[in-house]
């Protein structure tokens, strides 16, 4: 964790993005305040819709469900996988995983946690009758055995090196078999019971959710008696609530409000380099985007440094390829994607570009800065002689086009690296049959498939290096930025965010600064 003064922040803004994947704290004052508070109030940009973790993957919901529930494995803010409800695990042969479960863990209602709960939870995710929204998250599993209360044996259909990582993200939250079967899905969703550091107390929709600390939490009681989650959808009132001290932390702090929070004596900005990228996904089936040379020209004509500096106030870094910094097999030796408008013109000429229209279909606020960046990029492309144009679409239209694969040219996508590995991002989205399957290259597919089902990390590393090379030639995505996910917090809050949007409040990453 790095502490900076305001002057240093201003001086080092542009360079900050390159400083690495570790979370940063940027404070407006050298002297942090202390507090005697026992209540932690968080304001997020939207309300919770469901508590049952198997029925939602929305970020507003998982910020809460990852705290009421635990997973077998736990991805910490440093990006590494740690024990959760499982204390250790090992692979036996190619397709069998043995998990040792944590003894003495109790559900919030006092029932003991056993392997029967874990087996039930995981099977529930892909059980057709349960109709969950995470049916594909753990679909590599063939069958599960629970030979004794503290052992779980999982057999996968094919070798799955990422199974422990999959169990650490959505779909992997463990729910109580006995309670859920007794009360049914609806009652469970209304009054969830987990093993996590906080337990459910009450919820008034669109107003506030009250959670109490779980005193007997296996990971240690958190440094607050009560956690309140409020929903404040508008950015300006959300920031006003933070500045006035009504809330202790806010999510989704846009870069253009960075200074107000960092410059205020009682608040600071805490950020983590996003475990993922903001990319312009490409419909490579539509001319002129079926030409790799034209796509290379689009990439070369984009001044990403300027975008990071001007539109993100330095809160991001320029990607070097399709793998996010911080992920397995990220190649630190690759240079950031280059800006060279002269070369861009050359490649347009070589690629036989005939002034066809190139359209970016942008949303407004689907990702931070989406429309502004689209406008800036289109201006840069026009300067390089590309007939580019922005079209604004609504969120649900985007969702529909995503489903029908009917985008006209390029569109914003913010792929999250769900597994800390290229398989959970590049291959999940760009692989055959994936949601962004607009381009195929036999060698890329062969390597992606082999890497998915190999437990040999050296082989996987080589496969992803070669895939990156193919990617950079064909550019099924034009990567734009790896931004920081910023949160505003009071200076008396010491909290390290997780890069993959999991908002965890645990002993290892959260405490109040006491006098």
């Amino acid at each position: 964790m790095i502490e900076l003064t305001r002057r240093e922040v201003l001086k080092g803004m542009a360079g900050l993005g390159a400083a690495g994947a570790l979370p940063h704290v940027l404070s407006g004052s050298a002297q942090a305040q202390t507090t005697q508070k026992r209540e932690f109030v968080l304001a997020q940009g939207g309300d919770i819709s469901k508590f049952d973790p198997h029925f939602s993957t929305s970020s507003n919901d998982i910020r809460v469900s990852f705290n009421i529930f635990d997973n077998l494995t736990s991805r910490h803010p440093n990006g590494r996988l740690y024990p959760g409800l499982a204390t250790e695990w090992k692979i036996e042969g190619q397709t069998t995983w043995r998990f040792k479960l944590r003894p003495g863990v109790k559900w919030h209602n006092g029932d003991p946690f056993t392997s029967a709960d874990a087996k039930f939870s995981i099977e529930r995710t892909y059980d057709a009758a349960a109709k969950t929204m995470v049916a594909t998250a753990l679909a590599t599993i063939d069958r599960i055995e629970a030979p004794d209360p503290l052992t779980l044996v999982i057999h996968t259909k094919k070798p799955d090196p990422l199974l422990p990582a999959r169990l650490g993200f959505y779909g992997g939250q463990i729910v109580p078999k006995k309670y859920l079967e007794a009360v049914g899905n609806d009652a469970f969703n209304a009054k969830p019971v987990g093993t996590g550091p906080v337990r459910f107390v009450s919820w008034v929709k669109d107003d506030k959710l009250v959670l109490d600390a779980n005193p007997g939490y296996w990971g240690g009681r958190i440094d607050a008696d009560r956690v309140i989650v409020r929903s404040i959808p508008e950015t300006a009132p959300r920031i006003a609530a933070l500045l006035k001290g009504e809330v202790d932390a806010i999510t989704q702090l846009p870069p253009d409000h960075f200074e107000r929070v960092a410059g205020n004596p009682s608040t600071k900005v805490v950020g983590a380099l996003y475990a993922g990228l903001y990319v312009l996904a490409v419909n490579s089936k539509r001319p002129p985007l079926d030409s790799p040379l034209v796509k290379q020209a689009l990439s070369l004509a984009m001044d990403r440094d300027l975008i990071v500096k001007e539109l993100w106030r330095g809160r991001g870094s320029v990607p070097s390829g399709p793998i996010a910094k911080g992920d397995n097999h990220f190649d630190a030796s690759l240079p950031p994607l280059a800006y060279n408008p002269t070369e861009a013109r050359e490649r347009l000429k070589k690629g036989g570009y005939k002034n066809e229209e190139v359209i970016i279909e942008t949303t407004v606020g689907y990702t931070a800065n989406d429309k502004t960046m689209a406008e800036a990029i289109v201006a840069m492309w026009r300067d390089a002689g590309i007939n580019a144009k922005v079209e604004v679409i609504e969120y649900s239209v985007r969702a529909q086009k995503n489903r029908d694969k009917s985008f006209k040219g390029l569109w914003w996508s913010d792929p999250t690296s769900t597994l800390g590995d290229p398989d959970g991002m590049m291959w999940r989205l760009l692989g055959p049959g994936g949601p962004q399957d607009y381009w195929r290259e036999p060698r890329f597919d062969e390597l992606g498939m082999a890497a998915r089902f190999s437990v040999d990390e050296r082989f996987r590393g080589e496969a992803y290096r070669e895939m990156t090379k193919i990617f950079l030639e064909h550019l099924p995505w034009v990567p734009v930025i790896q931004p920081y996910e910023d949160y505003g917090v009071q200076t008396y809050v010491e909290w390290t965010p997780n890069p993959n949007q999991q908002f965890e409040i645990r002993r290892f990453n959260f405490k109040f600064r006491r006098a």
Binding site: S49, D206, A240
Partner: protein, 308 residues
């Protein structure tokens, strides 16, 4: 009271037609606007998953069939299950109504209590400083966009002066800024209309007669002016009441107020058809009922309307 029952029957019939039309329009528009399923599932969900969820929500049936089921269910008071919350839509909307009533009634009370006397005073002191100042302020209230007023109040009153909470629902202090913001437009409209209605009556012959009879100004205003100016004032007040109770999308969003306006807008984004339909139906029903009451009030205020 001859003719009252047919009058009542006709009004009820018209109200039902209005409600049917509103629900049909909402049904059609929501379905034209797109499919909720891609928003519910993760982006990498396979097509089989999408078809399964569509079938589960009944969206795989033909539109006329869906419409038939929708009308039959509404007649039984069943608005379906919320796609987003996975519970009955009516129960979801009911949960949001108290907050909307609390805000709407306060804003309305504020509007009437402040605006009516101001309108009256402005009319009586026409062209005075008071008249110019209040009517200037009313013009601002009527023309300033709600989101701008709301954020201005938060920045100035809440953040700079540190007087009231920035957002959320809680004790009475939480109510002041949203009620002022929401009530500003109604306040301005009612004040301006009261002023002009009273000015018009003050020019009437019977007022000149009343004054000529030597009646005091108080009696002239209380007995002769107010009652005759009441019809337009009651009309605008009724309309404003309906609007305020129907949920205030912008005010509720700016102040994170958990009312049905915010629910409606969120549900539109989420393509939560049942909740949008239920919210719009209830808002329309409230508007219709209030209009109906206003019609009845006309009869009380002016017996000539009853006999027509």
């Amino acid at each position: 009271m001859r003719g009252f029952l047919p009058f009542l029957g006709y009004r009820v019939f018209r109200a039902l037609i209005a409600l049917w039309l509103v629900s049909t329009v909402v049904f059609v528009v929501m379905r034209l606007s797109g499919d909720p399923v891609p928003l519910l599932l993760p982006p990498d969900a396979p097509r089989s998953e999408i078809f399964r969820v569509r079938a589960e929500l009944g969206l795989d049936r033909s539109l006329p069939t869906q419409y038939g089921v929708f009308l039959a269910n509404i007649a039984r008071g069943d608005f379906g299950r919320s796609i987003h919350f996975r519970e009955p839509a009516f129960r979801v909307v009911l949960g949001y109504l108290p907050a909307t009533f609390e805000l709407g009634l306060t804003a309305f009370a504020l509007a009437v209590v402040v605006a009516a006397p101001i309108g009256l005073l402005s009319a009586m002191r026409r062209n005075s400083f008071l008249d110019h100042a209040t009517m200037g302020l009313a013009l601002v209230g009527q023309s300033a966009p709600t989101f701008f007023l709301g954020i201005l109040f938060i920045l100035l009153i809440s953040l700079k002066a540190g007087l009231l909470p920035t957002s959320g629902r809680g004790d009475w202090t939480h109510l002041v800024l949203p009620a002022l913001t929401l009530g500003a437009f109604s306040m301005a409209s009612i004040a301006r209309l009261t002023r002009s209605a009273i000015l018009e009556v003050l020019r009437a012959d019977y007022i000149r007669t009343a004054r000529a009879k030597g009646l005091s100004e108080l009696v002239v205003v209380a007995k002769h002016t107010l009652k005759n100016a009441a019809i337009p004032i009651v009309t605008i007040t009724g309309l404003q009441f309906g609007t305020l109770l129907g949920g205030a999308v912008v005010t509720e969003t700016v102040f994170s107020w958990p009312g049905i306006g915010r629910l409606a807008i969120q549900s539109i984004y989420n393509r939560d058809y049942p909740v949008v339909q239920c919210t719009v139906f209830l808002s329309a029903a409230m508007f219709v009922v209030i209009n109906f009451c206003v019609d009845l009030l006309y009869g009380l205020l002016d017996p000539r309307i009853r006999s027509h």
